[in-house]
């Protein structure tokens, strides 16, 4: 039996029928053709399928599609709706990916961290990434990219404040 759901995907309202046992990951990939969330473990261990649900980071393999009815889903496509984000630019500059399979989920996790905590410590960064597995990079270049974006944000905020004071 199909359940009809309506939700916002990257700013656009989508309506479709889903099976009760279909996950959000299944529906995004197989029914909507959005393949940036990846299949890695289907049990919430690897984070390759990370998306945002009403602004909160979730693993889309652990969310049933029926649960997103009336809610808002953001994938990496939604994050960069206005062009590449500073995190994406920095991931390129620091070689913070190799095979690229974990990258969309990793960038969403990093984005979520910096929204909650614009000036994270090393440990806070590692803690925030601990649900996203990467087998290639050794994580160090990912952590470096996040630190660099945080530092740039801080510097430009400082400049802005400085400007106001003059």
């Amino acid at each position: 039996m199909l359940y009809e759901i309506t939700f916002i995907l990257n700013g656009e309202e989508r309506r479709l029928g889903v099976q009760p046992n279909e996950t959000l990951l299944d529906v995004l990939r197989r029914k909507l053709g959005i393949t940036s969330p990846k299949v890695g473990c289907e049990r919430g261990d690897c984070g390759a399928c990370t998306v945002k649900l009403n602004g909160l980071l979730v693993k889309s393999c652990l969310i049933l599609a029926v649960e997103v009815n009336g809610r808002e889903v953001t994938t990496i496509e939604g994050l960069m709706a206005k062009g590449l984000t500073p995190l994406q630019e920095m991931f390129m500059a620091k070689n913070s990916f190799q095979c690229g399979y974990c990258a969309p989920g990793m960038i969403l996790a990093a984005d979520d961290l910096l929204l909650r905590n614009p000036d994270p410590s090393d440990h806070q960064i590692k803690e925030a990434l601990a649900g996203n597995l990467c087998r290639c990079t050794g994580y160090e270049p990912i952590i470096e990219a996040i630190k660099a974006v945080a530092a740039n944000t801080k510097a430009s905020a400082g400049q802005t404040r400085g400007g106001n004071n003059e």
Binding site: K38, G40, D45, Q98, G100, C136, G138, Y139
Partner: protein
């Protein structure tokens, strides 16, 4: 030697695949949309490690709504394999490991396929499973896993023993081993054990097969080896009438390989199943569980070592036996055994050698290639053992290694000569970076500190005629496409190839695309394995670029009357030493040609072609001694060291610093090499600190998931990693380069084992060295003291 200046080689050029990867645009196999006609297959798997199949009843499954077809081994009684033909598409009369494919259900959707697979009824007669090497060898093994072994086709450098479980026995004999031990002042023996490991690429294996109504069989696979796959698919399915011309393999991208996506594993199922549902694509997507138990696993090894040394530290003799738990099928894994068997001296000059490397069938999942290809496995025992010997001689562990380190021109175990290398430089730079001579005392009595050191080496393990080829074509704007069939598995080879062509053609790397493999459209590449791509494919790309460059010079000489020797390429233009103002943009002629005074044109689209095969390599040698031949094209060497802090109560290790130096010959892209060192070291450290494959007494894998098989998270990384690049050129490498990708993982286990010994005085001789194992060892030591 004069230092040549390069414009693009040696630069940390940004990756040319960066934007597609960080935007999620990269299209992996499971991302390709095949439309509503796509079918899905689910696999019926053996619950037994060793059993005879008595009966398969597919009736109930076939009748389930939504099921299109049910297939068993009967339809595909074909044996095949990479180096030895010991595998079947589906199990025939016998299953040999838990999880082996017995039948498949093809359905309209994956849920239906999975549910119907559970309805296939298989009757088995259980046999004695052989779950470790010592049950499988000896006078009377409890069962024979491959009774037909003597009839299996295999490469000429394998030596299987009929009516046994020994699939390959590699012997190396050099010098006089008895004399070597007689000359020694100290002879020391011990044993070391390395378990199995999983690659754990985050992308699971995926394959889609389509036999279209014209009879064309196309496979989309996540593969390091598209051409080898095409060859093996064609070989396996030849009885159905397929030829190479009928089979096409497209590999768009790979989400992590590490050897796990080399050769053919589950992809054969997609090829076979496509033939029974003509006209419809059929997809197989492995679950994470299947990824663990039905692809390749890194083989376990039990090493017996006996080493003789003089008082001054000189090694006089090495006797080593490596018993490899190679699993149910060894079509790829037997070559791991072979490569390691020829090289298990490590990078040391040892005059008297006796080594046996024995490939043993067991009823565990098939072993195969994993980053390091046998070298990660034997180096744990060898470098642990050498450390113990240095200690017994009261010799510094680095001094011992430096004294025995192999030099250029030294004899290798199989009789060849060692290539130019920077091993001594690596040793010295690593010792300096880790501050080997400095004490780092612990302020906390509960924290024990230690340092560990190891050398490493590895040669590409490949058939002597493994080759690479490249096409290169210019576009109207003088950007270009390079067509090769090596695979981007994360290492960054696309960027390295762009840099190689850029250097020859004077076109910036960001104007160069390197295309992913499609066996119809990109030229032959053996496989993206063995860390040979930078070297082999790099040579092919360099030659293709030189071919194009010579055509350009031909044309300019012929049409404009310039002296060929004074022409050169720079900034996407032809320039002329004799005329500084001369600047002929490539885009003005690489497609359209050059117009002559009479209005006619010369030239036309410039395309380049290049090929590389190591014509000096040979696998022919004496089976009794391993002497003769040149099975290894060259070795890449290096050194590594670590500082650790052990919490004596919990056994948990913290890593303040780890250093690794590798001799890249010439670093084409230093940033990418640093990425390999940082990533590879963590993957290696994980095998010694965290990961542990556990099987029960029936041969069933107990931890086939990331909850129970712990790969490192961002919280588990060393505090500081120092990557060091050494550059002693490889004479036959492109710009002097040789591969480094696998090597970065190899020394991780022994540096930790040696540091643990340094910190606690406890030699742990089996991997992994988990916190639990350390804590138990400390407890035992303290009980013994009492």
């Amino acid at each position: 030697m004069s230092k040549q200046e390069y414009k693009y080689i040696g630069q940390s050029t940004p990756r040319i695949d960066g934007k597609e990867k960080i935007t999620g645009a990269t299209c992996f196999v499971d991302d390709i949309q095949f439309g509503p006609n796509l079918l899905y297959a689910a696999i019926v798997e053996s619950p037994h490690a060793h059993a005879l199949i008595e009966k398969i009843d597919t009736g109930r499954a076939a009748k389930a709504p939504g099921v299109v077809k049910v297939v068993t081994g009967k339809e595909f009684p074909f044996r095949f394999g990479l180096y030895m033909h010991d595998r079947y598409v589906f199990a025939q009369d016998r299953v040999r490991f838990v999880g082996e494919q017995v039948a498949a259900v093809i359905a309209r959707d994956p849920f239906t396929a999975k549910k119907a697979a559970a309805l296939v009824e298989v009757q088995y007669k259980e046999l004695v499973p052989l779950l470790n090497v010592f049950d499988a060898i000896g006078e009377r093994p409890k069962s024979i896993i491959h009774p037909e072994l003597k009839n299996y086709a295999h490469v000429p450098w394998f030596f299987p023993e009929a009516d046994s479980n020994i699939a390959h026995f590699r012997k190396v004999r050099r010098g006089d081993i008895e004399k070597g031990f007689a000359e020694a002042d100290l002879v020391y023996e011990d044993q070391y054990v390395v378990p199995r490991y999983a690659h754990c690429a985050i992308e699971v294996h995926a394959a889609v097969g389509l036999l279209d109504n014209s009879g064309r069989l196309t496979l989309w696979t996540a593969s390091q080896s598209p051409h080898t796959q095409r060859h093996l698919f064609t070989q396996a399915l030849a009885p159905l009438g397929f030829t190479h011309q009928d089979v096409r393999v497209i590999s768009p991208a790979v989400g992590g390989g590490f050897g796990g996506k080399a050769g053919v594993s589950m992809e054969i199922l997609a090829a076979a199943l496509a033939t029974v549902v003509k006209g419809s694509p059929v997809k197989i997507l492995w679950s994470r569980e299947q990824e663990f138990y039905n692809t390749y696993q890194r083989q376990g090894v039990h090493a017996r070592l006996k080493v003789g040394v003089k008082h001054d530290g000189a090694i006089t003799a090495l006797e080593q036996t490596l018993y490899w738990d190679a699993g149910a099928y060894v079509e790829y894994g037997a070559n791991v055994v072979n490569a390691a068997g020829l090289s298990a001296t490590g990078p040391y000059r040892i005059p008297n050698i006796k080594m046996d490397s024995i490939c043993v069938y067991t009823n565990l999942p098939p072993g195969g290639p994993y980053r390091g290809f046998g070298y990660s496995e034997f180096i744990f025992g060898l470098e642990s053992h050498f450390n113990e010997i240095a200690k017994k001689l009261n010799m510094d562990a680095v001094a011992f290694r430096r004294k025995n380190a192999i030099r250029e021109g030294d004899a290798l175990a199989y009789g060849g000569k060692m290539n130019p290398n920077g091993l001594l430089e690596a040793i010295d730079k690593v010792a300096q970076a880790i501050e080997w001579d400095k004490e780092f005392p612990s302020a906390d009595p509960n924290i024990a500190v230690g340092k560990g050191f190891s050398l490493f080496w590895k040669a590409p393990a490949m058939p002597p005629n493994a080759s690479s080829s490249a096409f290169l074509k210019f576009n109207e704007d003088a950007g270009l496409n390079i067509l090769v069939s090596a695979q981007e598995i994360g290492q960054g080879f696309l960027t390295a190839m762009a840099q190689v062509a850029a250097e020859v053609l004077g076109v910036p790397p960001d104007r160069i695309r390197v295309e992913s493999p499609d066996t119809d459209r990109t030229p032959y590449e053996w496989q993206t394995v063995a860390s040979h791509i930078t070297w082999g494919c790099g040579n092919a790309v360099k030659r293709a670029a030189e071919d194009a460059r010579e055509q350009i010079f031909d044309l300019v000489e012929k049409t404009l009357g310039k002296k060929r020797a004074a022409l050169y390429l720079e900034d996407s233009a032809v320039k002329y030493l004799e005329e500084p103002g001369f600047n002929l943009p490539l885009k003005s002629f690489v497609i359209d040609g050059i117009m002559m005074a009479d209005g006619t044109w010369r030239g036309g689209p410039v395309t380049g072609r290049g090929m590389f095969m190591p014509e000096f390599s040979s696998a022919v040698s004496d089976p009794e001694t391993g002497q003769g031949g040149k099975p290894m094209v060259h070795y890449t060497v290096g050194a590594s060291a670590i500082r650790i802090e052990i919490d004596k109560e919990t056994g948990k290790i913290r890593i303040p610093k780890v250093v690794l130096a590798v001799d890249a010959g010439k670093a084409i892209n230093p940033g990418l090499i640093r990425g390999q060192i940082v990533g590879g070291l963590l993957q290696g450290l994980a095998t010694v600190l965290y990961e542990d494959m556990r099987f029960n007494d029936k041969g069933k894998l107990l931890n086939p998931n990331f909850t129970d098989y712990k790969i490192p998270t961002a919280l588990d990384i060393p505090a500081e990693i120092v990557p060091i690049i050494i550059e002693v050129p490889q004479p036959d490498g492109p710009f002097g380069a040789r591969g480094i990708g696998e090597h970065t993982m190899i020394p991780a286990a022994p540096i930790v084992a040696n540091a643990v010994e340094d910190a606690l005085g406890i030699r742990i001789k089996s991997m992994p060295i988990t916190a639990e194992k350390i804590a138990m060892a400390i407890k035992k030591m303290e009980e013994n003291k009492r």
